[in-house]
Symmetry: C2
Subunit: 168 residues, 2 copies
DNA sequence: AATATATTTCAATATTTATTGAAAATTCAA
DNA sequence: TTGAATTTTCAATAAATATTGAAATATATT
C-alpha cells in the first residue's frame, strides 16, 4: 500500500472509530492527521487535507486543545499559527482517561451518591432494586475510578512490565 | 428524594451518560429502566414508562439483546414477551468490554497491522512518522487487548481484591 | 493609523441519526 | 383454519448534531 492511500485509510478509520466513542468524526480525523504529521501544520493545511471549512477546523482544533491532546505552536518568523499533537500514545491515552474521568465519571458518582439516599422502605421490592442497582454501579464506579488513578500515574510500560507479568 | 423522582433522574442521567459513549439515548434509558425493575417487564411497560413508540422499543431491546445485556423472558400463562436485564454490574461491564473489544478493538488492530506494512523509505520523515504512529497505537492496543482479556476472565473483586492491593 | 493577514464566531444549512406509526409478518388460541 | 393478539419492519418524518461561510474581531506589518 502506498503512503497516500495508507494515510487516507488511517484518517478515515480513526474518524469512524471516534464516532463509536462519542467523539465527532472531524475532531478524530484532525487528531489522526496531526498524529501522523511530523511537523506542526496550519489551519489551511488541515482544511486542504481533510476538505473541510475554516470554521470547522477552528472549532475542532480548539476542542482538541481543550482535551489537552493538541498544542498551538508559534514558529519564529511565521505569521500563522501551527498545530501539533502529542505523539506519545501512552500520554494521549492517560490524558483522555483523565479528562473523561473528570467530565463524566466523577459527576456520575456524585449523582449516584445522591440517588442512593432515596426515601423509602427497603422492604418494598421496587425501592430495594433501585437502591441495589445504584449502589452496585456506585461501588463499581469507585473501583474503576481508583484503578484509573493508578493507571494515570503509572509508567508507560505498566501494563506489560508489571500488570501482565503479575497475571502470568 | 422520592423514589419516582430518583428513578426518573437515574434513567435520564444514564441516557445522557450513554450518549457520551456512542450509545443511543433510548437504548441506555431502556437499559436503566430494566436495571431498576425487580421483575421482567413488557414492551408496553417500556413504551409507557419512557413515552416512546413501539417500534423504538422493539429496535432498542433487540440491540440490548444483541449486546448480551438483556434477555427475553417467557412467563408461563402470559402471551406477551417480557424483558429482563442482567443486574450484576460486574457482569454487565465485562459483557460490554467483551463486545466492544470484538466489534472495535480487534478490527482496528487488524487494520493497523495492514497499515504498518506501508511501502516507502523510513528515511523519509513523513513515512517514518506514519509508521511510528501506527506502530505506537498498535502496540498500545495489543497491550490493552491483553489487559481486557484478563479483566473479562477475572472475578468480580479483582480490582479491589487484587489489583489495588498490589499497588498500595 | 491604515492596511493586510489571520482567527473566531455563529446563524443558516446540511447531514446524520433517532423515532414514529401503520402495514406486514408472526404467533397463539379457539 | 380463522381471527385476535403480539411483534417486527421500514419508509416517512422529526430531532439532534455537524458544517459552512461570511461578517466580526483580533493581530501583525508598513
Amino acid at each position: 500500500m502506498k503512503l497516500t492511500e495508507a494515510k487516507a485509510q488511517f484518517i478515515s478509520s480513526w474518524g469512524a472509530f471516534g464516532t463509536n466513542w462519542g467523539i465527532n468524526r472531524t475532531m478524530a480525523q484532525i487528531h489522526a492527521l496531526l498524529l501522523i504529521s511530523p511537523n506542526p501544520i496550519t489551519q489551511d493545511d488541515i482544511m486542504e487535507q481533510l476538505n473541510i471549512s475554516r470554521g470547522n477546523v477552528n472549532m475542532n482544533t480548539r476542542e482538541l486543545i481543550d482535551w489537552g491532546l493538541v498544542d498551538r505552536v508559534l514558529l519564529p518568523g511565521e505569521r500563522k499559527e501551527f498545530f501539533s499533537a502529542e505523539k506519545d500514545i501512552w500520554k494521549v491515552s492517560t490524558q483522555i482517561i483523565k479528562e473523561r474521568k473528570r467530565r463524566e465519571l466523577d459527576p456520575m458518582l456524585k449523582l449516584l451518591a445522591q440517588l442512593e439516599k432515596v426515601e423509602g422502605d427497603k422492604k418494598d421490592k421496587e425501592t430495594k432494586q433501585f437502591i441495589d442497582t445504584v449502589q452496585g454501579i456506585k461501588k463499581f464506579g469507585s473501583q474503576a475510578d481508583k484503578m484509573l488513578d493508578v493507571m494515570i500515574k503509572a509508567e508507560e510500560n505498566w501494563i506489560t512490565g508489571t500488570l501482565l507479568k503479575f497475571f502470568k
